[in-house]
Amino acid sequence: MGTSPQEVTCLLHAWVGGDRAALDRLIPLVYDELHRLAHIYMTRERPDHTLQSSALVNEAYLRLVDAGRVEWRNRAHFFAISANVMRRILVQFARARGSKKRGGNAHSVSFEEGRIAAPGRNRDLVALDDALEALARLDAREAKVVELRFFGGLSAEETAEVLNVSSKTVLREWEHAKVWLMRELKRGDAA
């Protein structure tokens, strides 16, 4: 790996400070690391394994960033980028692994408070991604709340910081999004 934690940390500081170009340099670094971690994880994966998106994001953070030099706000922004990148990577993997095979099992997507486990089965992940796309067309911010919390494991406070809204708003949107998404996924199952 050609990148040092100092370099990534500097880019993160610069981006949160308003330097857009820093983000363009940061994303490929985050992508490469998350892709590498996801690949390792997938090849070891057992069929019943539950994939922990937020655990992989956290591992990437510890590897890429000089955590001692990053303030809370910047950390939240790192996790926000990672949530989006991780979502794309996991869905790519899931689609590649034959998501068209549809079985009769109940969805294993579960939404819990705080750090959240991503769905275990490929088709669940693809169905969730599709539902999130549909949600984004109706309500972009609410979809973002789900992406940040579900794929990045951001807390309500961190999500609020990234989206520049109150924690209370985040929690309300999160509660609403959960019931809406579960309904959509159930409908998908029935179809």
Binding site: R137, L138, D139, R172, H176, V179, W180, R183
Partner: protein, 54 residues
């Protein structure tokens, strides 16, 4: 559903949840004002027992 209707349904959903149980039914009926589709949309999101649960 378009984004405006989505927002409307979301606001009603949240207002129903925020209200005291005994006020919910009447509030929902009034907020949807005969728009059965809107009412169905909101009700499909509410948890079972929404009329009573605290």
């Amino acid at each position: 559903m378009n984004a405006d209707r989505w927002q409307r349904a979301k606001e009603i959903y949240q207002s129903v949840i925020d209200r005291e149980p005994e006020q919910r039914e009447a509030f929902l009926a009034q907020a949807c004002a005969g728009d059965e589709l809107l009412r169905k949309e909101v009700e499909s999101l509410l948890p079972a027992g929404w009329r009573r649960m605290a």
